[in-house]
């Protein structure tokens, strides 16, 4: 007995097999290759099944982590996935993109004295295993209620609402402005991090349950919210994301070759410009590429540029390494692939040639000054430290804001001073009757799992409204 226990503690965190950095930096296939059943079971054995699990507290939607890991320990993968589905309808996505080190894994007790249990990898394993083998019993759909729900936006938030409400027996239609559903999961996050087939399989599953997905529907233009009500929808969920690109407002920003990350990633991912000329949408393939910002969006842009053939791909960030907001795994992968980092550097201006094409960027070195209100030391410019970097492609990934297209065309919807929709934190209710909102359009750019959590809360509240009233 005791012998066994000692052995158990000795199992090291099972590494995720990955494509070699030099190889993967030139293709768009997924970087981590996935685990075998054996290594997954071995990894699961590292979980000590805490009575008061910190990991669950760290997960924004409260997945029963010890519960599903126990099933993996026992080799019962269908039970494991059913357990995850109770709280999370997109585990194949979350296992891949959640910032686990700040959430579930960050609170894992095993991590106090070594590496935490690889919860994300296990979640991904269970979901991928289920997608291949289809063994788990699908959640049951309740009897039809006769109520109609419109979900605006097909990102993780909207998809969660749609899946929850269709299971509760309501008729659901998802309206999406783009020609393909999935939101950021499809237009933003690259194939090498989240294969699009996974997202499309989730949407297909939703359609198989009876939900309708209407692409090419720009709500606010093609149809307004009031028209949706007139068409007989009883409740509406707004999960339209924070899709407005932020620019730097520095000289030279309109030279050809300066992109918002939204445009660059949309061209590459949604429009498949990386497969040009098989796909018709072109993209500028930079030789020397600079990405401004250091979040997930910046990592995705800098790594996409490498895969499109860049000789240098550099990340320029105003603050220091400690403040980098991207997932740990992404920064690590980017470095392995050869992305260079310029910390404490602020962009000053872009320069161009006589054809209006970008040719370089001037940066300014910064140093850390006094701590600001948030306790972070503010970067302050070092006078006279300007320097030039050659570049023919610059990608601006310094954040996004709320797109006013829908909110401006809708009366009775209160917005905060930045233009985000005001919604009740508990249930997602907006100030307009019959309308809920959640995800990035309420919180500002956040994470997939938070957008899904907001969707789950709103779906519960919408269900209550549809069965009991506002």
């Amino acid at each position: 007995m005791t012998d066994k226990k000692v052995k158990k503690e000795k199992v090291a965190r099972q590494p995720m097999p990955e494509q070699e950095p030099a190889v993967r930096a030139k293709n768009f296939e997924e970087v981590p290759l996935g685990q075998s059943l054996e290594t997954a079971i071995l990894e699961a054995s590292r979980c000590i099944q805490c009575k008061k699990p910190g990991c669950v507290e760290g997960c924004p939607v409260g997945v029963d982590i010890p519960g599903f890991i126990k099933f993996i320990q026992e080799g019962k993968i269908s039970n494991a996935i059913s357990k995850i589905w109770e709280k999370n309808s997109l585990p194949a996505v979350c296992g891949r993109v959640c910032p686990q080190e700040m959430q579930c894994e960050g609170k894992c007790i095993v991590g106090k004295k070594g590496d935490p249990v690889a919860i994300g990898n296990l979640e991904r394993f269970a979901a991928d295993y289920e997608r291949k083998n289809k063994t788990a019993a699908k959640p049951k759909k309740a009897a039809a209620t006769g109520k109609k729900v419109a979900v605006v936006g097909s990102g993780p938030s909207g998809l969660t609402v749609a899946s929850d409400l269709i299971l509760k027996g309501h008729e659901v239609t998802v309206f999406e402005a783009f020609h393909k559903p999935g939101g950021v999961l499809v237009y933003g996050i690259p194939e090498f991090r989240l294969p699009k087939d996974i997202v499309f399989a989730e949407v297909a599953g939703l359609e198989a349950l009876g939900a309708r997905v209407e692409c090419n529907a720009v709500i606010g233009r093609t149809l307004t919210l009031d028209e949706l009500f007139e068409k007989g929808y009883d409740a509406i969920y707004l999960g339209v994301g924070a899709g407005l690109p932020t620019f730097l407002n520095i000289p030279g920003e309109n030279f050809t070759g300066v992109f918002s990350a939204n445009e660059y990633l949309t061209r590459s991912n949604l429009m498949k410009a990386y497969l040009f000329p098989e796909y018709d949408t072109p993209i500028i393939k930079g030789k020397n590429v600079i990405t401004l910002g250091a979040g997930n969006v910046a990592m995705d842009s800098a790594r996409t540029a490498l895969r499109l053939g860049a000789e240098t791909s550099r990340i320029v960030y105003r603050r220091s390494r400690a403040e980098v907001p991207a997932r740990g795994a992404e920064v690590h992968h980017a470095e392995e692939e050869g992305v260079e980092f310029f910390f404490l550097t602020s962009p000053v201006k872009f320069s161009g040639d006589e054809n209006g094409r970008l040719s370089g960027m001037t940066g300014l070195k910064m140093e850390l000054g006094e701590p600001d209100a948030s306790g972070r030391r503010r970067p302050v410019p070092i006078e006279g430290s300007e320097f030039d970097l050659e570049c023919d492609l610059a990608i601006i990934a310094v954040g996004a804001g709320p797109n006013p297209l829908l909110t401006k065309s809708t009366e009775g919807l209160e917005l905060n001073k930045w233009g985000y929709i005001v919604a009740d934190e508990e249930n997602g209710k907006t100030t307009k009757k019959g309308v809920w909102a959640g995800g990035d359009i309420v919180t500002g750019s956040a994470t997939v799992i938070l957008a899904m959590g907001a969707g789950r809360q709103a779906a519960d509240s919408m269900h209550q409204y549809l069965t009991l009233g506002w």
Binding site: R221, N254, T256, G257, F259, N262, I283, P404
Partner: protein, 277 residues
Amino acid sequence: MFKIIKRQEMAEGTVVLNEIEAPLIARKAKPGQFVILKATETGERIPLTMADTDPGKGTITIIYMVVGKSTAIFRDLKVGDSFMDVIGPLGAPTHLDKVGKVICVGGGTGVAVLHPITRGLKEVGNDVTSIIGSRNKGLLILEDEMKSASTRLHVCTDDGSYGHHGFVTDILKETLEKEDIKLVVGIGPVPMMKAVCNMTKEYKVKTLVSLNPIMIDGTGMCGGCRVSVGGETKFACVDGPEFDGHKVDFDELMLRLRAYTIEEKESYDEYCNLQKA
């Protein structure tokens, strides 16, 4: 899917008209607005102005010049074929106010964009002088339509094969000299719009132009369509496509339109070779 119910070639086959079933869009569209179309799974998203709409029939009409691969694919669609995706109506509609005497100037396929605006301006009670031009007689489009949409119509050809021998700006200048013009609308190739604006600036007459930068989403999320207007960056797909022509940086627009010249040529040549084979 969005079915093509009518197809017509104009301007010696260089320009094509399609009437397409798109009931939701047809019901909503106003003059000056555009749609984004994608023909196939692998296709590009291409912005085109609605030259006409029929809410009763549930159709929209587009008129486009075949300039590259995407518009060549559109050209090769037949009646009964469908566009895979059509998105709209996009962009801000034209303000159709009664101001008095108005001049509408159109060049090339810009005339297609100009036509519904001209009709709208006349309908609200303006006196509309229209001036349209093309390189030669064969390339002229929508002459009859423009005639009935305007109070009077002047036609110009660069080579003198029809109408006035010369540029639209010649007639524009004459009219500005003679009449008390309140508004000019100029739509066509960028160099033409620039020339029109330079002229109307001298006469201090407010001038609207419709800009055609490269676009992707058409909803304000990519910023690819940004143009400089009065020193500020605007997104043509939501803030425009119409702007005060006296404030537009046309030179920047021209440079930005050339962003993908090499790729576009590669793609077009490949398509043409495939069609020949």
